[in-house]
Symmetry: D2
Subunit: 114 residues, 4 copies
């Protein structure tokens, strides 16, 4: 399955007074991610696709989202997007959000630089 991955910096204006992403902003981020996935798969932008096919966007019929860990202002999150199923006249897009974590550098590696 073709997966498009992109890193999104969580900006000040994406966040609410609790300092975490105001959840509707996730859906705007995912909508952009869908456009980028199709751009990568088809070799043309959503705009070009719409010009050529004379369609007016992907009508959305169903959304399901689970929020596992909140993203905070300043986080860099990796959004991975793919079409998980194609049917005759509809398809499912799946997005997955993961925070980029600083991985601690193992002691043995540090040692070599000492």
């Amino acid at each position: 399955m073709l997966i498009n991955s992109r890193t999104v910096r969580i900006q000040w204006g994406d966040c609410d007074p609790a300092g975490i992403v105001f959840f509707p902003r996730y859906f705007a981020i995912f909508d952009d991610s869908t456009a980028m996935l199709f751009e990568r798969a088809l070799g043309m932008t959503k705009f070009e696709l719409m010009q050529r096919q004379k369609f007016s966007g992907f009508p959305l019929v169903d959304i399901r989202a689970r929020f596992l860990i909140p993203s905070r202002f300043g986080d860099d999150v990796v959004v991975e997007s793919g079409v998980s199923e194609f049917r005759r006249s509809s398809f499912d897009v799946r997005h997955r959000n993961g925070r980029i974590k600083g991985v601690p550098i193992p002691e043995e590696i540090r040692a070599k630089f000492a």
Copy 2:
């Protein structure tokens, strides 16, 4: 079940180039509706609730939405919101969107004014 009902005018800035609501905007509308539902039930605003209870918002864990008919720029939609289930430490809020339709005035009523 307590249902809070409010009418929301779909504004220019809520809509996308297809002239219909950009779907993340629905979630912002629903989030406001949840706040208003709690305000009606508790007799205090979400702000007052947060001051008193020292909590920082309702963490959202799961969303499901089905889009049946698109709302367009200029529509007045009625959003009805209620808590469909309370559990020990979580609850479900259900929102329902309906367009206000002009109901045709029955001929017999018109006739009385003729």
Copy 3:
């Protein structure tokens, strides 16, 4: 000058991690206010106006805004909007934001209820 006045509740999703309105949201609020001003003046909604006049919105050429006091989550702000100047093919809209303050009830009035 015709002034349209409306009260806007500052919602959770309008605010940033500092707990105050994320300023681009003011402009969305003002844009709605302009639509409501025209609706009141013309007796038709912006949608109806656009249908009739076959124009596609008010092109914006210039914006100036001064931010005097921040609005916070939970505030009710009164937005007063009016057209301050009409020229041949352009016009200026002025919006003014004021927080609704709870006015302390004078002691002599309280006394009458004691």
Copy 4:
């Protein structure tokens, strides 16, 4: 003057029913651009800056914007941002938006590939 330049794809959800950027979205884009400018100048993110300095964002006192040409869905715009003036306790940030135009490939260059 340090100028930070970045390319922003105008997304579907940035645009209104006229197919052009809903102007409050520009201000969100510019706000991100200011954060990126400071990140480049200071070598730390806005988040890190706020952690260290214990300040809660840049209070905005004045905005002026002129809209010369509209940006449309699908456009790639270059946003150039710089601090045009520093005063004792305030500063001005200037953002400039330019569409990326496809430059026609000169005939003499095409010829070499024929």
